[in-house]
């Protein structure tokens, strides 16, 4: 939503939230984010292929 119409608050909140979190010892964050990205990419590809097959 970084479109100059208002709504970029979301990434600002996310970024600020992440920056102020005590991350020492949070070793799960990187594998969790990697898994999340993998799921998102897989989900996106499946959606896209299904759309193409449905015309």
């Amino acid at each position: 939503m970084e479109n100059g119409k208002g709504g970029a608050a979301l990434p600002i909140v996310a970024g600020t939230g992440a920056a102020i979190l005590p991350v020492t010892g949070a070793s799960w964050a990187i594998p969790a984010a990697t898994a999340l990205v993998a799921v998102m990419v897989f989900w996106g590809i499946v959606y896209f292929v299904k759309q193409k097959l449905n015309g």
Partner: protein
């Protein structure tokens, strides 16, 4: 631009004038024009108050309009672009003399079932212009993204804009002007986004208040694919920066300046933060952890917003395309800065006559 104050004076012939006319400018819109006209009739506007101006279409647009409205309410003009067509119809049909308000819409829109009944009830001399509540028609993944965007942009931001009197744009599909104000606004201002330009003129020239009627729903067709989305957003942003430059938005102590500054700096801060976190992720392991948190937070928050949009629009289908929204978000962000560079730094698009940006990108939609 001179600032003038308009005081509505009840004109002696008001009692003879009808309250509201609709002009639909169209160029090669045979696929959708009948739906637009019929939805306006169902929404409470009589046929005799609906006018179509056909801008030299090469398809059956004019004939379809005549079949529904009759010959007297359809005008065909030489190819002159959307604004040229509207102004020609405004003059030809003597709108100023015969009507108190003029509504203009795009030929790809559909009106909600009470749209004009709401407008006729709520437009009053205290407003100089008015707009309804825009929603996205069913379509592909870009349209699903727009449902999410409109939910944030209209359900939340537009209500706040209305509250503070800083509505930044009266969108093309749902734009209504008092005819005395329509005469004053300069619509031939070489803008890529004439609706934004007209709205900012209202603010800059202190013409009066803009009404926002949330219970008047209007549906518009969004780009069918990524290429059209990119073209449309590029045009919008170029028009946005054109207007910012032309009216020096952000440089005066006015509410509209504060609001536009807010949305510009909000985007810049978000981008700077993303850039900073990316650098941190590259240079240190702890930075990578923070970036990972950022990513997780962002996805969770965005999924919550999209779920909210799906619930209030009763559109569960938009959730299915959720991962692809990130492509469009980052495209938006890229185009925001690209067009800033083009318009504000390189000073491009100073004098441009927009044509019909919808040519070749219409598609049939599933309504309901």
């Amino acid at each position: 631009m001179p600032e003038i104050t308009i005081t509505y004076i009840r004109e002696s012939h008001d009692s003879k004038r009808a309250k509201l006319a609709l002009i639909i400018p169209a160029h090669n819109e045979e696929m959708l024009i009948a739906g637009t006209i019929n939805s306006a009739i169902r929404a409470g506007l009589k046929r005799r108050h609906i006018y179509v101006v056909d801008d030299a279409s090469t398809d059956n647009t004019a004939q379809i309009a005549r079949d529904i409205l009759g010959d007297s309410n359809v005008l065909t003009v030489a190819h002159s672009g959307k604004i040229g067509a509207i102004l020609a119809a405004y003059k030809y049909f003597e709108i100023r003399k015969r009507y108190i308000w003029l509504h203009v819409t795009d030929a790809d829109g559909l009106f909600g079932h009470n749209y004009f009944r709401v407008f006729k009830r709520r437009i009053s001399p205290k407003y100089v212009a008015a707009t309804g509540h825009l929603q996205s028609l069913n379509g592909g993944w870009v349209s699903k993204f727009r449902v999410y965007e409109y939910t944030i942009g209209l359900e939340i931001m537009r209500r706040l804009q209305n509250w503070f009197g800083v509505i930044t744009v009266i969108p093309g599909p749902t734009s209504c002007f008092r005819t005395d104000i329509f005469d004053i606004i300069d619509f031939q201002s070489s803008s890529l986004t004439e609706d934004l330009d007209a709205t900012l003129q209202i603010h800059r020239r202190k013409l009066g208040k803009i009404g926002y009627f949330t219970d008047a729903k209007c549906y518009t067709q969004d780009p069918k694919d990524f290429r059209d989305f990119r073209m449309q957003v590029t045009r919008w942003y170029r028009g946005f920066w054109q207007a910012v430059r032309k009216y020096r938005i952000g440089l005066r102590p006015a509410k509209i300046d504060f609001y536009v500054n807010f949305v510009i700096y909000e985007t810049i801060i978000a981008t700077f933060e993303l850039f900073l976190l990316s650098i941190l992720a590259i240079v240190s392991h702890r930075g990578l952890q923070i970036f990972a948190f950022y990513l997780i937070f962002d996805v969770v928050l965005m999924f919550a917003w999209v779920s909210f949009a799906a619930i209030i629009n009763r559109r569960r289908d938009i959730l299915y395309a959720f991962p692809l929204f990130y492509i469009l978000r980052f495209t938006n962000l890229y185009l925001f800065f690209k067009t800033f560079f083009e318009v504000m730094i390189l000073r491009k698009f100073k004098d441009i006559q927009p044509g019909w940006e919808t040519v070749g990108r219409r598609y049939r939609v599933q309504t309901g």
